[in-house]
Amino acid sequence: MVSKAAIQEAFASQEYKHGFFTELDEDMAPKGLNEDIVRLISRKKKEPEWMLEWRLRAYRHWLTMKEPTWANVHYAPIDYQDIIYYAAPRPKKPVESLEDVDPEIRAMYDKLGIPLQEQEQLAGVAVDAVLDSVSVATTFSKKLEDLGILFSSFSEAVLRHPDLVRKYLGSVVPFNDNFFAGLNSAVFSDGSFAYVPPGVRCPMELSTYFRINAADTGQFERTLIVADKGAYVSYLEGCTAPIRDKNQLHAAVVELVALDDAEVKYSTIQNWYPGDKEGKGGIFNFVTKRGKALGVNSKISWTQVETGSAITWKYPSCILQGDNSVGEFYSVALTNNYQQADTGTKMTHIGKNTRSTIIAKGISAGHGQNTYRGMVKILKGATGARNYSQCDSLLLGSKCGAHTFPNIEVTEPTAQMEHEASTSKIGDDQLFYCQQRGLTPEDATNMIVNGFCKQVFLNLPMEFAVEAQKLIQVSLNLEGTVG
């Protein structure tokens, strides 16, 4: 007979599906961080002087900053001098087409099921693949260029579109914003850049797959997406990483900008190595993501499915500056084994009639600790501002935890706020009911969890939603472990 306890025990015995390691010839900086390393990174990327200056200012400011301790996560101190801040795969020759991509890298992508092939065109996905720190291939750029859409690696954008990068870089997340954003600003390696010109609707989902590969290499992605007046763009980000014994730091920064009547939709599936079942290893994911709805009637929408990483510290946020602008945050965060997640969002209402929606779903299993941290700030003058927040937690087993910290600051009397919250357990009643209809407890659990996540999955692009559902099932994979 299957007891609930047995099912929950089974959660601890899962293996990470993407756990393999590919040997690549790396071009590495020595361990540690100082101004010379910052200069080295900038030189390696052949950056213009202004970019180096910005990095150095960020670095000098970072030295004065303290690592934040307010999050509900616990980890051993990070030695920032024990990290390699630059590593690049060495391609034999410049990459012009997919055929030129290192076969080993392509084989690795195949193992991950990343469609870095012609099928992308059919799927409508353009992938700017990031391996470690340097982009190895950029696809579909030419097609997008015909529409005036710029989509490239961040490094390339620094060289080719310096005016756009200078105008918007740090305009949403300044380098003095927080400790991890400061670090990123100093040493960011690469990332993605997208610009959609006025009135253009980007016809395909832009996509980046990140992959941490080299041991002991911090990953510092920098992404900037700008939708000009009346433009629309949907961006997908998905992550996997190989098994590692030592914790790896990841501190990315993503900035989104939407001008008048523009919309940026940003979807993430995060599946980095979460550590083993004893809580050893796994990625530290300390990310700053923020969008600025700068123009009137503009919209920023975040959707995230967070299943990986040992520690997640991440608050995709919206600054609703333009009148009538809209901010959305849809999130599923799953913690299993000894994973810790402190995630949520911050909605800052500045413009009149600004609206924000927060739907946050936390799933805790094993010894996982899941924290929702939210801040809704309605500033004086944001007349008619409205917010709806919903935070739901689902617990599987008795050793995990769910925590909710919803903060509200309202200084505008005409604002309307709604908040709903719930915590539930997958009950014996639910499991037994499903079993009585012929389903195994494992299938029933997957079904209940998927039902719990549905509101968020509905906001993902179709093919991403299917992936997300699969990922949640893999993360809660119970098959053959109870009986």
Binding site: M1, V2, S3, C434, Q435, Q436, R437, G438, N450, G451
Partner: protein, 258 residues
């Protein structure tokens, strides 16, 4: 061979013995009603047959179609053709009614080596069953029992039974909480599903349901034992006399409120 043979069945929750030696034989094609006061063990019997682990079977045997029912996991009992209509059907938010039922039906079909139904085949199958229970299409798209009224939940149970087509159906207080219209719809559903290959065990407190669903045998359960069995007229008798006559000085049971 009878479809269901219960012999000297004892079951308890923690230290409290609830079933204290049940004997019962149900042939295919028969409808048996189990009646009795609150706390007599009616629902426990239903749950033990379905395999709920809350109840520990301490003695006795249950043979279903010649097989040892008690040795089977709950899902395997379902796949072998045992269906229980729940007194309190659970709610599962975000899981569509149709999605759930299709998954259940296909799990059962896989177990039996039958091909799984695709979405179209499934819709065809459920369409006339929906009419039987007076359910419309919007009902199928709603989350399983989520926000359903008591009557809708019970109709959904009988609808699921109509789709799954079990060999043994155990209906646990299906009439409770139903208004007269819903009772008629549900009874009609049950009657339509009566067949010579299928047996039903109908657990009920009141004789009300039995005015619509005529049982072949009525058992009266008291304090964990069947104290009287008879034909359908026994139900009417109980309706008049109540359950108070069951109380015996040594039973230790308090007079039941009827």
């Amino acid at each position: 061979m009878a479809l269901l043979e219960i012999r000297n069945l004892h079951a308890r929750v923690k230290d409290k013995e609830i079933l204290r030696g049940i004997d019962m034989t149900v042939e295919a094609g028969e409808v048996h009603a189990i009646m009795g006061p609150n706390g007599s063990g009616k629902s426990t019997l239903a749950q033990v047959l379905a395999g709920r682990i809350t109840y520990e079977v301490t003695q006795g045997t249950v043979r279903y179609d010649g097989k040892d029912l008690l040795a089977m996991k709950p899902e395997d009992r379902a796949r072998e053709g045992v269906f229980m209509a729940f007194q309190y059907p659970v709610e599962i938010p975000g899981v569509g009614n149709a999605y759930f039922l299709k998954a259940a039906l296909n799990a059962i079909r896989r177990y039996r080596g039958q091909p799984e139904l695709d979405a179209m085949e499934f819709l065809e199958l459920v369409n006339d069953r929906m009419k039987l229970l007076a359910l419309d299409e919007s009902f199928m798209k709603r989350s399983l029992n989520d926000g359903f009224s008591g009557g809708e939940k019970k109709r959904n149970e009988i609808f699921q039974m109509a789709v799954i087509q079990p060999r043994l159906a155990v209906l646990d207080e299906t009439d409770s909480g139903l208004d007269i219209d819903a009772l008629r719809v549900v009874s009609n559903g049950i009657n339509t599903l009566r067949s010579k290959d299928r047996a039903m065990v109908v657990v009920t407190h009141y004789a009300r349901l039995l005015e619509y669903v005529t049982p072949d045998v009525v058992h009266v359960l008291s304090n964990g034992r069947i104290v009287k069995s008879g034909g359908k007229e026994l139900a009417h008798e109980l309706e008049k006399t109540g359950y108070a006559w069951l109380e015996t000085p040594d039973s230790g049971a308090k007079p039941a409120a009827v």
